[in-house]
């Protein structure tokens, strides 16, 4: 019968190896479940009330739907903000698993 003898140093090394594996497993799991990066861009659609001209612009504080912002470059009628909405772009983060 072979007698299994484990000295203190071996036990310590085994504990450290197990701890290292556990930490690596936790880190990998955390990275793989990381939320995707979300980019948001708010757009204001400037449009002529006669619907012959439309341009997308970045939203500015003070903008609202129905705000008169000037004259249409084509027909000279009122140019208003027709819509304001946010474009959401999700960029999945690279997973190492």
């Amino acid at each position: 019968m072979i007698k299994l003898q484990i000295d203190t140093v071996t036990l310590l090394i085994m504990t450290l190896v197990l701890l290292f594996i556990y930490i690596m497993f936790t880190v990998i799991k955390e990275l793989s479940t990381k939320k995707p990066e979300v980019r948001r861009r708010t757009i204001a659609i400037h449009s002529c009330i006669n619907n012959d001209y439309e341009i997308r612009k970045e939203f500015k504080i003070g903008d609202y739907v129905g705000k008169v912002i000037g004259k249409c470059p084509r027909c000279g009628a009122a140019l208003i903000i027709k819509a304001i909405y946010t474009e959401v772009e999700e960029r999945p983060t690279k997973s190492i698993t």
Partner: protein, 332 residues
Amino acid sequence: MRWSRFIRSKLAYIETLVTSSRNKTIQFISRVLKVSKAEEIVNNFIDNFFVIEPVDIEPTDIIRRLEHLLNVRDTKIKAYAEKFLPSVPKELRYNAIVALEITSVLNSVYKSLRHYFLLGIKHNNWALVMQLALIIPQLVKELEGYHRAIDSFTAGKPVGDSAGPLVAFNFIGLSERRPIAEDTVYSVVDFEGRKLYVIKAEGPGAAVGKPGEAVARIVEELKGRVARIITVDAALKLEGEESGGIAEGIGAAIGDPGPEKIKIERIASKYNIPVDAVIVKMSSEEAINEMTSKIYEGVKKAVEKVKQIILEKTRAGDIVVIAGIGNTVGVY
């Protein structure tokens, strides 16, 4: 032990959301509205203005009593805002009120969760602690949505719930707004030979108005000569459904506690007027946050659906009442 540690970490996170919301509101009042004593305004607001629900074991007149209590609360909040923000334009003052309300909601939910957690620990009630641990991740998601919503309201951007007023805007454009009820306006426009009375909250500040009262008054003024009432509102989608999808149904599409909805139902049944509901689907988070392109596409579809209902179910010369229900922040 593991449950309580988990709840503690989530509560600490919710507390950071409350603190952050409070700071954002204070910054908006002090930097954008340029009002001093911003901290005092926020602190005095968040623990006050609760409403005690009316007695429901005696249901007689419960709607009238509920409406009275809601009106009193509304008046009290507006008076508070006028007192501390007197020189601020109405639209910005209304946006500030919503930011204060959001901070107040976050604070109330945080305090309730903390209460149940401490109660569970105090009485060693592990069933209570476990239930809390199971439900808290879902609540955190909802509260994150509320926290983010402050940015939309302080910037004055339309939110998902603005879908109804945006549909109304698509019909009336810049035509004259006439006041009909508190914070509520209507415009009269012609469409394919029909006369449209289009109702919405008065924008572009964050207001929902009283669309039920407005519909009732207009129908009474017209002595019931209305061919159809069409209500358009944002509605919560079921999980798995696409945001921005639309649906058509029967009834008053309005998500108030009751007083406004019942007014539409009463006036419609009094004069036997058909009531249509067009809804734009979205999640609860999308409803209070900046309007996404998907929801804007839904708004465009809802406009077409309303036009289709008018053309198919009414005749030239008819009068149609359209109510764009929801918060009109960022929509004139």
